[in-house]
Symmetry: C2
Subunit: 339 residues, 2 copies
Amino acid sequence: MPTLRELGEFEALRRLAATRRERPTVIVGPGDDAAVLRPAPGCDLVATTDAFVEGRHWLAEWFTPSALGARLAVANLSDLAAMAATPRWALLSIGVREDHAIEPLVELQRAIEETLGREEAGIVGGNLTAVEGAEWLNLTLLGETAMGRAWTRFGARPGDLLAVSGHPGRAGAGVLLARALGEKARAPEWQPLIDAWMAPASRGPLARALAVTGGVMAAIDVSDGLAGDLAHLCEASGVGAEIDTAALAEDAALARAAAALKVKPLDLALGPSDDYELLLAIDPSSRAECERIAHDAGVPLRAIGTFTDAPGTLVGVGSRGARAALEPRGFDHFAADRS
Amino acid sequence: MPTLRELGEFEALRRLAATRRERPTVIVGPGDDAAVLRPAPGCDLVATTDAFVEGRHWLAEWFTPSALGARLAVANLSDLAAMAATPRWALLSIGVREDHAIEPLVELQRAIEETLGREEAGIVGGNLTAVEGAEWLNLTLLGETAMGRAWTRFGARPGDLLAVSGHPGRAGAGVLLARALGEKARAPEWQPLIDAWMAPASRGPLARALAVTGGVMAAIDVSDGLAGDLAHLCEASGVGAEIDTAALAEDAALARAAAALKVKPLDLALGPSDDYELLLAIDPSSRAECERIAHDAGVPLRAIGTFTDAPGTLVGVGSRGARAALEPRGFDHFAADRS
């Protein structure tokens, strides 16, 4: 298996470019100074970028190159899903050690292509550079929406429903289980949590189906943790939120993980976790339609609270009506050791 | 001066976002899941990405944050210049150590904004993540051209003139001088070479002025080295090239550097060097018009050879007609120790 040092940059780029498929909107693909892309006239372009760093965003002993590539693709697809955009074109920048073999890198890029390809997007350019120490990956993803139709974080109004797709908290619980239990975390009982961490699903198709209703007023993806991301959405919209903590904690898999980890299920559900789920503000009149769409898509969509007119205030409401302020915790890559 | 660990990721992102200016084509800027951008209807989008890694692409003792940011911006502007595209929107991904102070990072981002801003482009999104070891920066730049009007590498024809802007080789010579002479390389006599390395100019305005003539048949930017990049252009176009080595070596500053470094001036002019100059295939009937445009722009543009019908063959032609094969050397980040 030749290494990058043996192949050289240009031959390595050629082998990576071979993973890609032709797409009619890509006028010039990888191999020129830049890619040339043809957006539909009258569309808005939506652009995001996300980096993964070895040891921080992935553990080499857990992730195959395929799993890593798919997860990086989903991390970016999730940002476009939170804007209700259709993904189209990606640029992949890779920083790897010289003794990295080429095949795992091709496998990684192919997994990104396949994951993006399921939503009709693909890689159109990139960069390959040598590093010493930790390796990293940076994916930039571009998509389109009809003019002025992108979801943002700033449209939530008091009275809108707070809804979330999937089971937030599971990805963070998966990381904690892998760290606490090591190989034993691969047991079937933990699989829903390990899968949520290692193989999250893209919510892009769900987002675009929901967008048709016009009933989604604001959106964010859960990439730091539910409480932290909800706080960002509330700040942008100038609203607060009340969370039905009993509804949120209804997740048997998370409850089992909480018991094993000796933490509260609610802390797992609200705390640091990159689930790549959608957190939505939904006009109450669209609730039934949104729930039907999610049901048809086979994705859980739960109403877990309501937006309020108390800006920046997150309140948990228990099953007996007890109210308590919630702390907006989430991932902060630079503040792990702050209190 | 607070560090990123003290500030946390979100406050750091806020301070970085404060360097940006409003732009009418940016519908949603930094601070949401993705940026929303409005391309002009009927335009082609042009996209590139480039990464700089500490120790490989910059030497901390030579580059201020401003100089580093400006150079990263020019590296990306250069790719769009080589496609004759107008730059519009950039996404900056930053991987830095936790004890990095915030001010130099703001200074770096401001320099990128200013450099892009001179061509009406700006940062619309990004990512900030913690690393241990070498820091890195990844800039993705998007631009526009009229539909189907982007320059590519594949349009050169036998008989087209080979022309180059500026003085290729100077940037690579600047790096060699800095390594060989240390602080003495800051002497005024070496300034044109150190400047070519540390503070390259964007050739975007020149490229877009030349594009109007319709006489540029193919283009690439000199980011690896003249001979290496010329080989890429020839391969893409299915042509060869003859270089007038006497014309190419006409650079007194490069000749002085070659003497100090005990190498041949021609090796500096052709060898590894990221000059961010334009290498162009020009229809001979457009030569005078292109030279006039470059003259008006105050940028040297020299005809240094001709494209031929011998695919992949690079030949140097000396002042007395002597011919010798040229080796297509350039930067290859993974092959430094290959023969």
